[in-house]
Amino acid sequence: MKGMWWKILGVFLVLYAIVGGLLIEVPRLPILNETIRNLYFHVTMWFSMIILLTASLVHSIQYLSSGSLERDTRATETASVGILLGLLGVITGSLWAKFTWGAYWVNDPKLNGAAITILIYLAYNILRGSLEDPKKRARISAVYNIFAYVLLIVFLIILPRVTDSLHPGNGGNPAFSTYDLDNNMRLVFYPAIIGWSLIGFWMVNLRRRLFLLESKDDD
């Protein structure tokens, strides 16, 4: 049981987010109506994605300073799980957009930001695929990971400011912005972020162990 507590906590928090997210009273806002509940899933998954990608960055920096291949495995597995959460975020957001905006995909800076984020980490995987020597692959992909992460964050910060967005909270749309996110919603919102992140790190752990077993098989 030792060392298990955070996994149990993760499962519990996600269950709580699903049950609470669907049942707890939410503010009635025009256009959004009941779709506001998607905040508990779509937005929290994106927050967790950023947390995981940041963890991946930290692993990459640690790889460059220590040179241990285990760090490299952690960096790449964390990035993969982060992107999985990102894809889920895109899917939930897309479903939400269908009911609020009337289309699955519209030209919106936040959607473009999502697409670019996924493209960057696809490029990261392509880079890893084209390098065979494990040490070299670890070093070069760590360098790209750091470089791309910094530019991605800059991009996610400046993009919504230089273009107009349909997203709630932008361009006068009814929003989940600070004053609309009432205290009831916070009760589910923050635990959900922690829950998804914990489940994400659990998945990273499983993938890393699987990778270790597979590489032992090869020897």
């Binding site: 490029a123 880079l127 084209s130 070093r139 070069i140 470089f147 791309a148 530019l151 400046i158 230089v162």
Partner: protein
């Protein structure tokens, strides 16, 4: 610091001499520019809306600079690289490369602006904004491409790889530069040109600093 600058200037001179001897960079730039202009002329005539003008101008700069950067790395053999490796600090190498490609790209943007304004009349409401957009946009773009191409040259298929790796992360640069040049043609943007200029300057500094921090890790082989 002084040694770094001295070494990068030596490297820069060396690149410049090679370029002077071969003279292929300026020639290919001109051919690329003129053929693009011909295609645009055949398809659209000489009257272009500011939006289309800006789009074409930045397409030319984007592909032109990636050509320049790729060429600067293509002429290097393994043996030559080993020679450079023993002589100078990695940061001097990447700094000199960024400088050399930057100068080349500035020449390209100058030529592109000249030809585009010569053939397609366009009212530029604020020339200083236009110049800032072109200079900062090309320099930032070139620095990013130089670093990413140096990185891809450590892997297989560097030509394809550098495009795949550079494209998604170069979007913020392109976006700010294009918005800024749209403002210079009299369009109203969502943000002031001062904000966009500071974003571009910040991106340029960021890309150069990251290149200097990370390039030594690529160098060790």
């Amino acid at each position: 610091m002084g040694k770094l600058i001295q070494e990068s200037l030596t490297m820069f001179n060396w690149d410049l001499k090679r370029e002077w001897k071969e003279k292929n960079s300026i020639g290919s730039m001109l051919i690329f520019l003129l053929s693009t202009l011909m295609v645009v002329y055949f398809a659209l005539g000489t009257q272009l809306r500011p939006g289309i003008w800006t789009a074409l101008y930045w397409i030319v700069l984007l592909f032109g600079t990636s050509g320049i950067v790729l060429r600067s790395f293509a002429s290097e053999s393994k043996a030559k690289m080993l020679g450079i490796y023993t002589m100078i600090h990695p940061n001097a190498f990447i700094l000199a490369r960024i400088l050399f490609n930057g100068v080349n790209s500035l020449i390209l943007s100058l030529l592109a602006a000249f030809f585009f304004l010569f053939f397609y009349q366009l009212e530029i409401a604020s020339p200083s904004t236009f110049i800032l957009a072109s200079v900062l946009g090309t320099l930032t773009m070139t620095s990013l491409l130089t670093f990413i191409t140096a990185l891809s040259y450590r892997a297989k298929n560097p030509h394809i790889l550098s495009v795949i790796l550079a494209f998604p992360i170069s979007i913020p640069i392109l976006l700010s530069a294009i918005q800024l040049s749209m403002i210079s043609t009299g369009q109203v943007g969502l943000v002031s040109s001062l904000n966009l200029v500071s974003v571009l300057v910040a991106l340029l500094v960021l890309v150069v600093v990251l290149s200097l921090l990370l390039f030594p890790y690529l160098w060790r082989d």
